[in-house]
Subunit: 306 residues, 2 copies
Amino acid sequence: MTDIVDWVAVDWGTSNLRAWGIAADGAVTFSRNSPKGMGKLTREDYPAALSELLDGVTGTRAGSIDVLVCGMAGARQGWLEAPYLEAPTDLRHLLAGAVQPAMPNTRFAVSILPGVCQKNGADNVMRGEETQLLGLAALRPGYTGVVCMPGTHSKWAQLSGTHIDHFATAMTGELFEILSTHSVLRHSLNGPLDGPARAEGFVAGAEAGLARPQDLLGQLFQVRAGSLLSGRAPDWCAGFLSGLLIGTEIGSNRHLIGAEPVPLIGSAALCALYADVLAKTGATGIPVDATDVVLAGLKAARSAIA
Amino acid sequence: MTDIVDWVAVDWGTSNLRAWGIAADGAVTFSRNSPKGMGKLTREDYPAALSELLDGVTGTRAGSIDVLVCGMAGARQGWLEAPYLEAPTDLRHLLAGAVQPAMPNTRFAVSILPGVCQKNGADNVMRGEETQLLGLAALRPGYTGVVCMPGTHSKWAQLSGTHIDHFATAMTGELFEILSTHSVLRHSLNGPLDGPARAEGFVAGAEAGLARPQDLLGQLFQVRAGSLLSGRAPDWCAGFLSGLLIGTEIGSNRHLIGAEPVPLIGSAALCALYADVLAKTGATGIPVDATDVVLAGLKAARSAIA
């Protein structure tokens, strides 16, 4: 690890700020993290948060060090809004849509990549995932098909090489969180949630969701009824709720899945669950490391004009 | 209005306690309300809450005054658990399943009606709605078909006269509440929600839900995208979210609707929205007054052995 870099790659999300030093040959020279995500910052805090994280970093050339940022720093409520590209579009155009926020000195020359939006009755937005998708296209040149990105707001994107044709967002992770915390179902999840019945509950929920994705509103209440009538333990109920939501998400997107394995980009634990549920439909999910694709995406975005 | 009664009918829900004096000819002699619903009471509070509400009530005969209670007072976390009858069942059996909680004196002889449950892979519970359904059967003898009961936890019950064949619960109202309050969608609902665009948003949401009930997880995020991309106002977003949830609920239960108009039991405002969405499917919804059916149900339950 060295602090001498050609440029700096940054993923600035809602919860975290991550930076990697990149050498002229593309090698990663350092990796640094900070909890200063968009959610904790006001607009004025960004320059200092970045300078602090990049303290001691030196460029291999004279002049400013380029810093290329993707993620929520470019949101309207972030550092400086980077207006969305509109899908369908070629993700190699990301850098052309970047914006340059002001810094108090010339040490760093910052560019923030745009997100991607979709209009015409299928209104949708992504910010951060577009860079991961470009990275996937760089790591698997020519891949054509759907990409599933599980998370708080899961994305399902249809990719043809570096071209994004269409995408959708499923509020699966957030729904699990608010149902567990704020709905009547919380009474059924009041206890240890990682017990041995969780896996069994997950399978039951996933099968229910896959079989009847149109009945999510009705099937949710079975978590409560299961604990009241059948004495289901909190771990079973948590597994059922998680499986039901993921099964419903995958069941409703099944028509997008072709013959090729589906790349899964997200946390390793979540991708493993999605791969299990995909297997029940006869499809295959291939977990892809999320850090690998974001780094590959920032490199690919930069090389589009380099 | 008089405090002299033959017996007292009580609907004891989560939020409210309501009592009606009933004369020997079935006429209502008084109507009283209290905010002392199950949610605000411990087990020990029930006798005093009831005595307080029925202060001054006198029986037409010597001895204790019968008080017949339906609703959450019979839940495990209520006054005294009245174990569920299991569907399919005849609702004329409700009184036979009632329990008698202890009172500090013999002025009132209280019976609490059971709820109805469903097992065998379609786990479900209702408590209070079964009495309304019996009331509907009394007011519309012989009605056979589905009954929709919109609310926090909407019920869809299949009735043949006084016989309940099957039922389901949709967490529609609760989902609207927690999504509005706790999810990322709250940012799109931050402002006046009863403006002129609400009706337009409701129609757009209802049509989206009816068209694709299997895609609720995906369509929810369009509330957020609609405000970010298309400048949708909070009233439009609230209408869209409400319409999307109700449209999805009705869309996923469409196969239950036959040629006959669908009785709608719930608040007048909510029943009107459901009737509008039902009309888009070519069906007709007939709002039925919820107080009328609960009173008719308590009378019918009592007369089953009288």
